[in-house]
Subunit: 446 residues, 2 copies
């Protein structure tokens, strides 16, 4: 990850700013304009990667050579780019918090070229990780206490996404991940059973199950649907008895078919075999809606393996995020294009302990009664500051916010987000900024 | 990218295979079970990353330490894993080719533990890159000759995905990418204009446009919708005249509003200003359907910047891919679970020069009349083989297949895929394999 991981226009603009000495402080605000369909909230994620990126931000020599040759930048431009690192201040909503549309996830104040150049990467990390964390949180809500594990590594959008999906799903309460490298990197619980190929590589299902039980007596989860699911469960139960496997260490995984009906048949077979503690895991194209149906039906499933649909946030694989200049050189600025207008100035979001709406204010405004600010300083002059950067802190914030979130906002279909009100001071600033802009334009400023 | 980038169950299975000496050759076949909704074809992509991964496949010491401590693997297991590298044979459909459901994208033949361990990563790379390439190809079809550029870097799922989206969109005919690092790595044309923040950082739109034209006289594309689009176009046209910018080097970008209506007004303003060669670029939430509407309406748009919806393949962010064992130790194998049954044995796909259906055969079958094989050897004993690995080759294959693809398969809504027939020999093998399995089960093989 280098400074070249950016859109060309960021570099063009930065070069233009540098040539003109436009290096006064600029504040950019990153937020989602709208919540995706059927989303009542977002779970902030991606900040850790953003801070790593900002801390290391620079152009290396190869990159500068590329810019010289490909874009025809001059030596003075390149010298100015070579000197750049990120020396700005960052306020952000820490990972794990729940937010709504129009609430800033991050605000960057830095010399205009610096703040401009980091746009693409900040948008990328925060958008996709927040989308995936939100999807995983919806699975958590649907599961109603049942165990969830991340099975998404095989169909996320590449390596970086696989790591992030494992991490953010754990942040919202998933118990583990199948992705070994992610488990290793983030200290998560690695989870895994067997694949159909294992069963097929042996001359019979029974031979495969026996071998697996011998090799992994402490965690023996049999995949039972390679040939005939009910037969598979009977074979697993019979072997568990024959080999005297401890009931609590045995499980079966159902990966196809009518999971509700099959889980009931499976439970009965396991109970009848004297394996009341043997666990039933379900997987195969699950998302929050499928989990909710199974939970509501009372299917006796102990653990859900959630893969692709969570890992790509299948029904909302992106968010309508924006990174907008809100102040430059002490002057508040705003876009006025219809449907995409923005609010000027650095901001804060205050949340009341009750379930009232959040309040979007100017950064320096006094806190409304009984309210706490969501945005906190996370970087000052390019150095990380503050506490709460630990993964455990992010988990705790999500648990807190999940408990706070009203049922109507947690609904998986047609939810009612808590919403956000603008403070009078913010409205006043917006009006004043628009008016100042109109009078400059009317005066034909050139 | 290391061997630990895999699901835990792959490691459990590999360990079990190694302990039991189950290291005879296994063949796995990777294919999409179905095409996503409204897809009439898929464009193969991701093979280059897969071959890089296979060529470097190994567990390093830190990873083995993790497996020792976290999974409690014994020293003999770890020694066996430490010795593993990928020494197998790979056949694949080269990147850029069009394929359909049930046609293998890749087939791996290797010692069972090796072939098993690479599953997660091969599925990941081929699934998401093929999904994104297919989405980009649909934009290409919709654009009907208009220029397309990739603007997706800010909302792809992470860094790896951003690089891949730039590359695979270029493979299917995109003219360039905004992502500078990807342009640099893959030799693509970097494309970029200015953002709204640039316009806002200056005291007026006119001042911003003037500065940009001074700094980038060779490629001056003005973003005109920060405040009022039509005013913005007038300002751009006026400045182009005032500064004597060459008409062919000037453009405007429309990023919001009714792009059809605005592009017509814009064209007229530019033409009236004596700028007939000035180009109009459109962007902002575009996908193949939006592009098709604009093209069909005759909107005078020269270039489309396609971002998020292409880069995440928004309506089909994953494919229903599977990596299935089809042969082990010379014995064809298959899954028989309802709805997820698989076909045994190594395969080939033959395509007829006319638009008849493809034929799915056993690997060693003779080619049907006038047909060419889609799968070719790309790795032998762990070493890359064959030609056609160059990016230009992938582009040429896509152009060829796009010309071959029937109109009905290219339709963006309710398409008719070309489809694939099974050869008699393959059907016969499937029947024989199922029968052999049933008789082993009936004999109560233990």
């Amino acid at each position: 990850m280098t400074a070249l991981h950016t859109d060309l226009y960021e570099i063009r603009m930065a070069v233009s700013y540098l040539r003109r000495g436009m290096t006064e402080p600029a504040t950019f605000s990153l937020f989602a304009r709208d919540l995706p369909h059927d989303r009542g909230f977002l779970v902030c994620a991606g900040l850790a990667d953003c801070l790593d990126f900002l801390a290391r931000f620079h152009f290396d020599d190869d990159e500068l050579d590329y810019l010289r040759e490909e874009l025809g930048l001059g030596e003075r431009d390149l010298e100015a780019l070579a000197r750049l690192c990120f020396e700005g201040d960052v306020w952000a909503v820490p990972e794990g918090h729940v937010v709504f549309a129009n609430e800033p996830l991050i605000e960057v104040t830095a010399s205009l070229p610096q703040a401009q150049l980091v746009e693409t990467t900040l948008l990328n990390f925060l958008t996709f990780q927040t989308a995936v964390a939100t999807k995983a949180a919806r699975c958590r809500i649907a599961a109603d206490g049942a165990e969830l594990v991340d099975f998404s590594a095989r169909r996320t959008h590449g390596v970086h996404a696989a790591f992030a999906a494992a991490r953010v799903s754990a942040m919202v309460g998933f118990a583990g991940t199948s992705h070994v490298a992610a488990a290793s990197r983030f200290g998560l619980r690695p989870v895994g059973t067997m694949a159909h190929s294992y069963v097929e590589a042996f001359p019979s299902e029974r031979a495969a199950f026996r071998a697996f039980a011998e090799d992994f007596p402490d965690a023996t989860v049999f995949l039972v649907d390679t040939y005939d699911t009910v037969n598979g469960v009977r074979t697993a139960a019979d072997l568990a008895k024959t080999l005297h496997l401890p009931s609590a260490r045995v499980g079966v995984r159902l990966d196809s078919g009518d999971l509700d009906a099959l889980s009931r048949v499976t439970r009965k077979i396991l109970d009848d075999a004297g394996l009341p503690e043997a666990r039933i895991m379900a997987s195969g194209g699950l998302d929050e809606h499928a989990i909710l149906r199974l939970v509501r039906a009372g299917a006796p499933i102990d653990s859900y393996g959630v893969g692709t649909k969570m890992g790509v946030s299948a029904d909302a694989p992106s968010l309508d995020t924006a990174y907008k200049l809100v102040e430059y050189a002490g002057r508040p600025v705003m876009k006025t294009s219809p449907g995409k207008a923005t609010l000027p100035g650095a901001k804060q979001v205050y949340r009341n302990g009750s379930a009232g709406p959040d309040v979007l204010t100017r950064r320096a405004e006094q806190a409304p009664h009984d309210s706490l600010p969501l945005l906190v300083p996370v970087m000052r002059a390019g150095e990380r500051v503050g506490s709460g950067h630990e993964f455990a802190d992010a988990r705790a914030r999500f648990e807190h916010d999940l408990a706070w979130l009203p049922e109507a906002a947690k609904r998986l279909r047609v939810p009612e987000p808590v919403g956000v009100q603008r403070s009078a001071q913010l409205d006043e600033l917006a009006e004043r900024t628009a008016k100042a802009f109109r009078s400059r334009e009317a005066a034909g400023w050139r």
